[in-house]
């Protein structure tokens, strides 16, 4: 019974923290959704201890806790993969942005140099293109 209370408390705390983060705009919904789902799952399992036993029978797992561990590992793997994907996408976007910024800055410097040279009349400011 105590374990049920502990799990239930943990689930409630996780859900509460997530909700607050989400409300404050500090976590995007696409990341929070998965965690909320996990929180709901834990609450369900804590509220209904028989569920785990039923499920393990269903999947042919002898010890219910093993099914729990298996599911937990699978979920965490999924979360980690998701984060890696997002990080790769971000790096790619940052790279493209850096490229564009460098390009714009180079062109801007050139335009400025040309303008200065035109107003000063004469001196070649830089190795000009084309």
């Amino acid at each position: 019974m105590t374990s049920q209370l502990v799990f239930g408390a943990v689930a409630v705390v996780v859900a509460f923290v997530l909700f607050r983060l989400l409300r404050a705009g500090r976590i995007r919904e696409k990341y929070a959704a998965l965690w909320i789902l996990i929180g709901v799952g834990i609450i369900a399992l804590a509220a209904w201890p028989g569920l785990m036993v039923e499920l393990s029978h269903l999947f042919g797992v002898a010890v219910p806790s093993n099914l729990l561990f298996f599911a937990a590992i699978l979920l965490l793997l999924g979360v980690a993969l998701h984060l890696s994907l997002e990080a790769s996408k971000l790096e790619d976007e940052v790279r493209t942005l850096a490229e564009q910024v460098a390009l714009i800055r180079t062109d801007l410097d050139d335009a400025r140099a040309t303008a200065t040279a035109a107003s000063d009349d004469g001196t070649d400011p830089d190795r000009t293109r084309g």
């Binding site: 790279r95 850096a98 490229e99 910024v101 460098a102 390009l103 800055r105 180079t106 050139d110 830089d126 190795r127 293109r129 084309g130």
Partner: protein
């Protein structure tokens, strides 16, 4: 050979303050019918100002993107500014400026021209796992391209406008992405390659590593890069917009 083609030399440089100046000076003296763009890959030393002092046009990346990142930025510049040909040259003086013309001339026969070390000229030699890696790369590329390619990791490469467009779309920043992956993907997109024998000089700064375990890691990473690039879906190279026909 004088030509009406607009050509760009792309020189990626990362913390090369000590050598970039002399490389540029020599290049500008020898190569007169091409513009030079130095891509400062987020250097923390005075690379950009050293390059400017030597008379180069410099594009400064806000932070380090790696060779592949710097090169793609250079190719995007070349594409947007309407260059017909672009050639990449190392900032460390490894590539002999007098051979730039020869490598560019390869573009008369193909979309990509590679200045290769093992094609007869010069006396560059390697042994052990590094040699195996090069053998593996060379055999895979020769098969894919349909012509003998002996030095695909050479960074002394020229591209025509069609290839420049291809590179702006696919030029990974990963390790070996700037050589192996970009080239193989370009070949699989239907672009043609030719190899031009060149002699390379020893780098002016730093010696290349010959530690056996590093060479072994290099072999594994090349094999991995190959595997990824070979299994990727082919996307045909885009045709150029027709406005270039007038130029």
């Amino acid at each position: 050979m004088t030509s009406t083609l607009r050509r760009l030399v792309i020189m990626p440089a990362w913390n090369e303050e000590s050598v970039v100046g002399s490389t540029i000076t020599e290049l500008l003296r020898v190569v007169t019918d091409a513009d030079l763009l130095v891509v400062d890959d987020g250097s923390t030393d005075g690379t950009a100002s050293a390059a400017r002092d030597a008379g180069a046009h410099v594009m400064v990346l806000p932070f380090n993107l790696g060779v592949g990142g710097a090169l793609r930025a250079g190719f995007v510049y070349a594409w947007e500014h309407g260059y017909d040909q672009a050639i990449q040259v190392d900032a460390d003086g490894q590539h002999d400026p007098t051979q730039v013309e020869a490598v560019l001339a390869g573009l008369e026969h193909a979309d990509i021209s590679i200045g290769a070390r093992f094609a007869g000229a010069g006396d560059y030699r390697v042994r052990g796992p590094r040699a195996w890696a090069m053998k593996l790369l060379s055999s895979v590329f020769t098969r894919a391209a349909g012509v003998q390619l002996t030095d695909v990791t050479s960074g002394f490469r020229a591209a025509n406008r069609r290839t420049i467009l291809q590179y702006t779309r696919h030029y990974p920043a990963e390790y070996l992405g700037d050589t192996v992956d970009s080239l193989l993907t370009a070949i699989r997109a239907g672009l043609t390659v030719v190899q031009v024998p060149v002699a390379m000089r020893p780098r002016q700064g730093g010696e290349p590593s010959h530690a056996p375990w590093k060479a072994a890691v290099y072999l594994l990473r090349s094999a991995f890069a190959l595997l990824i690039a070979l299994t990727r879906e082919r996307t045909p190279a885009r045709e150029l917009p027709t406005r270039r026909a007038a130029a």
